[in-house]
Symmetry: C2
Subunit: 223 residues, 2 copies
């Protein structure tokens, strides 16, 4: 039983890795930076994407793939910002897989800069699935508590950047951003750390600059 399960999981991850590599190659060839957003439910992934849509409007073009177990709600919120969005509903599955992204890829316009993928809200399972992204952001919101990186290490280990969200709530919470960052950096010393409030706009300049610089690196062949 155990052996069979492990073999199947290995097959699933190997198949996923192949599909992800094909997506990464295609998007790099098209000069599009693909960014995978991971976090618990309600950490502010959609709100961050809404804020980036406002910030990039008229300067950079973005599109969004939304992953949810059920509902089209998040894609509708993104479309209301004038940004193209496709909703993938997994119907129970706890994470997105590369083959799901592959099916949507044909719809993505040629002339965009960023393709954001908002994963299913889950700080565990999505960490194991490469979606062909060039950048992975893990979000941790201040109400979740600063003790989470050590408890959910894989999500933080697999990410390129940590985005501490909802900084506007810090006055009302026992959350210490320095402790959260230190825990995450102990797991992955190369993590870039950003503290933001997507509602108030705090910290968004630095995050947007980071994304644009990654895009420029990709286009100059240094991704």
């Amino acid at each position: 039983m155990t052996t069979k399960t492990i073999t199947v999981v290995r097959d699933v991850l190997a198949t996923n890795k192949q599909a992800a590599a094909a997506i990464r190659a295609e998007l790099r060839a098209r000069g599009i930076l693909c960014v995978n957003l991971l976090s618990s439910p309600g950490s502010g992934k959609t709100t961050l994407l809404e804020a980036l849509a406002d910030r990039f409007r008229g300067r950079r073009r973005m599109a969004v793939i939304e992953g949810d177990i059920e509902t089209e709600r998040d894609a509708e919120r993104i479309r209301a910002k004038g940004v193209e969005a496709w909703q993938i509903t997994t119907g129970g599955a706890c994470h997105l897989e590369a083959k799901m992204i592959g099916k949507v890829l044909g719809n993505v316009p040629e002339a965009i800069d960023f393709l954001f993928i908002e994963n299913v809200g889950n700080l565990v399972c999505p960490a194991s699935y490469d979606l062909g992204e060039d950048l992975r952001l893990v979000l941790l919101s201040s109400p979740e508590g600063d003790d989470k990186p050590a408890k959910y290490p894989q999500a933080f280990f697999s990410a390129d950047a940590l985005v501490l969200t909802k900084s506007d709530l810090l006055p009302y919470l026992p959350f210490d951003p320095r402790r959260a960052a230190a825990e995450a950096l102990a797991i992955k010393p190369t993590l870039k750390v950003f503290t933001i409030s997507a509602l108030c706009g705090d910290g968004l300049d630095a995050l947007a600059t980071y994304l644009v610089e990654a895009l420029e690196r990709l286009r100059s062949g240094g991704a």
Copy 2:
């Protein structure tokens, strides 16, 4: 590939169901009410258990099984309240399974009233695994947003009660407890709904009464 995966998942769930049934039978025979707590990371499961430890002290005896991917932190917090606690670290797995509970069960004292199981923080996968509990609580904290029940339906469908936590943050958030409750009730009309702040104590009387009444029903053979 797909067929093999589905068969294995079915086997895993069937094996889990058998183990859960044995746990349920043993705990009912011992007159212990087993309560499984499900939620996203950081929704306040451990803080609620700390508050219940304070409330039940000297009146009802409880013990706690803590599930986490890594660290002993939550068990240490519970022990600091003078309550026996056992930490299960899943080492990567996204949910607890009945066989993990089975291994700890021999340590649980005879003369307790409540055995609480705090699942891995994950609003998706734990919903599929019966742990032998008689009551399942799903927690949703106000910062997560009132739109979550429809997006993660299985957790709400499988629960007996919905506990809306962190009501002390409501003045600072666009969270509508009535909308959250209405969404959850549309999925599971028999859900009991509680709104609490484990920090301030609001709503804890009603929740504690609900737990004690469930215990009394179990002991009178009407669980």
